[in-house]
């Protein structure tokens, strides 16, 4: 009975997954662009910018995501009407911005001082130094930590249901409530779907990490 239902409902699980994936792609993109900007500001910016990034980070990491979603959809949505999906992209995207900014900041601060100095000595402007020396190295080092962000946001998309975006997890809870039970079985199927998506994404990111690897750093393959 569980399996019949699951088979019958599978297309809807897939539809839920598809919506979740669109949301994921949008919010990660937003978070990447803004997060990178914010991290540069927080490491190299004027103190006012640093204060701004600090506040932004505190607020958007600190407020529970459900509250963010409600605030954006009902609060800001009151002034600028937006669909639940757009509200979810913005709320979760800004949240992701704060988290990604921390990832990039950590990586940027681990770039060797000497190289930054060498770039400046050659006449590279601050911006050029950031662009050509700091970011290429920091972004490489961010790939690993960024897989965390990808994994965690993938599942955070399910929170968007609070403002009516029906994605995978919500579709699954439909099935659970229809069956009045079988929680484990149904969620195992959902978990498997998330797992596949997560694995595919991370496999891609790890492949990128290996491809971009440069000699000279600690890590697998060292012989000592």
């Amino acid at each position: 009975m569980v399996f019949d239902t699951l088979v019958a409902e599978f297309p809807f699980l897939l539809r839920g997954l598809w919506i979740g994936l669109q949301l994921l792609a949008a919010l990660l993109t937003l978070g990447f662009v803004l997060g990178l900007t914010l991290s540069v500001m927080s490491v190299y910016g004027h103190w006012t910018l640093r204060l701004f990034t600090l506040l932004f980070e505190r607020v958007f990491r600190g407020i529970p995501e459900i509250v963010l979603l409600l605030l954006f959809f009902y609060g800001i949505g009151e002034l600028i009407p937006m669909s639940p999906f757009i509200a979810a992209v913005i709320a979760l995207g800004l949240r992701s911005t704060a988290y990604q900014a921390q990832i990039f900041r950590g990586a940027m601060q681990s770039v060797d001082d000497g190289e930054v100095m060498a770039a400046r000595a050659l006449g590279l402007s601050r911006l050029a130094t950031i662009r050509h020396i700091v970011l290429p190295q920091a972004l490489r080092r961010s790939i690993g930590p960024w897989t965390n962000e990808y994994s965690s946001e993938l599942k955070a998309t399910s929170l968007a249901y609070v403002i009516g975006v029906v994605e995978l997890t919500r579709q699954a809870s439909y099935i659970v409530s229809n069956l009045q039970g079988n929680t484990l079985t149904v969620f195992a199927v959902v978990a498997a779907m998330y797992f596949v998506v997560n694995r595919l994404g991370n496999a891609g990111l790890y492949a990128l990490e290996r491809k971009m690897a440069i000699p000279g750093f600690e890590g697998r393959g060292r012989e000592t």
């Binding site: 009975m1 019958a8 409902e9 297309p11 809807f12 539809r15 459900i66 409600l70 959809f73 009902y74 949505g77 009151e78 249901y161 609070v162 403002i163 009516g164 029906v166 919500r170 579709q171 809870s173 439909y174 659970v176 409530s177 229809n178 069956l179 009045q180 039970g181 929680t183």
Partner: protein, 253 residues
């Protein structure tokens, strides 16, 4: 052009509202469709969790709530209820092989589960937990389904759910039984924003009555819950509800 109403539901609440095959179904959903048709309105449904439905109503993202909504004093402060179309009692659920009866399931060291924020939860709190003579522990769950699962594991002794839910559980073949009933006569109704800004309360009330009187209501209910006893509509109307004071919109005018 007919007015389109957006009805908020929580579609994980069979047999009243749920989703299957990509469509919203259930007694409340079908009944609402019938009412809308009858009253010359269009209706569309939007599934949201509880914490979002109220702000959605306040922000006019939705026009009314169509879900297993119990009429309570607190809710009366924020919402305007239609006439009640159902009454519910609460059932004490225990494992099918449990030796507990309705008394032992609710006293003497028992651990009772309920869905957090539900009327059942409040009832246990007010009548059992706060009474020092009765030694019980209340566990509130995000979802009563998990409470039932936890009871199956054996961590808790009983779970209190509404009659409809209890019947649905048994209907679906879960290995639980009803140890006893707590008679509540808890009315259920639809609701709109306080003050009825869209002026639909009268139409809804009229629609409910017409649905009931035409016998369509009974058909709908029985198509989802074959053994359910149909209550008279309007069911018990508590005095404290503002919209139940005469004249009642749609009935008395």
């Amino acid at each position: 052009q007919a007015q389109t109403l957006v009805a908020g539901i929580e579609a994980a609440f069979p047999p009243w509202a749920y989703a299957e095959g990509g469509e919203y179904k259930g007694i409340a959903v079908d009944a609402m469709r019938a009412i809308a048709e009858n009253q010359g309105m269009e209706v569309e449904f939007r599934d949201m969790p509880w914490p979002s439905l109220i702000p959605a109503l306040a922000n006019e993202r939705i026009d009314l709530l169509v879900t297993g909504l119990n009429v309570t004093e607190e809710r009366n402060e924020v919402l305007d209820f239609t006439i009640p179309w159902w009454e519910n009692d609460d059932e004490v659920m225990v494992n099918i092989d449990s030796e507990l009866n309705v008394v032992t399931a609710l006293c003497c060291g028992a651990t009772i589960g309920a869905q957090g924020g539900s009327t059942q939860n409040s009832w246990v709190e007010a009548n059992l937990v706060e009474n020092d003579a009765i030694d019980v522990t209340l566990r509130s769950y995000e979802n009563y389904v998990t409470a039932i699962e936890d009871m199956r594991v054996g961590r808790i002794d009983s779970v209190i759910v509404s009659t409809d839910t209890a019947e649905d559980f048994i209907d679906k073949g879960r290995e639980v039984r009803i140890a006893g009933t707590i008679t509540q006569g808890q009315p259920q109704a639809l609701a709109v924003s306080r003050g009825d800004p869209n002026n639909i309360l009268a139409a809804l009330n009229r629609g409910i009555m017409e649905l009931y009187e035409s016998g369509q209501w009974q058909e709908i209910v029985h198509s989802y819950a074959p053994y359910a006893t149909i209550r008279q509509i309007p069911a018990t109307m508590p005095d404290y509800v503002r919209t139940y004071q005469a004249p009642i919109a749609g009935l008395d005018d």
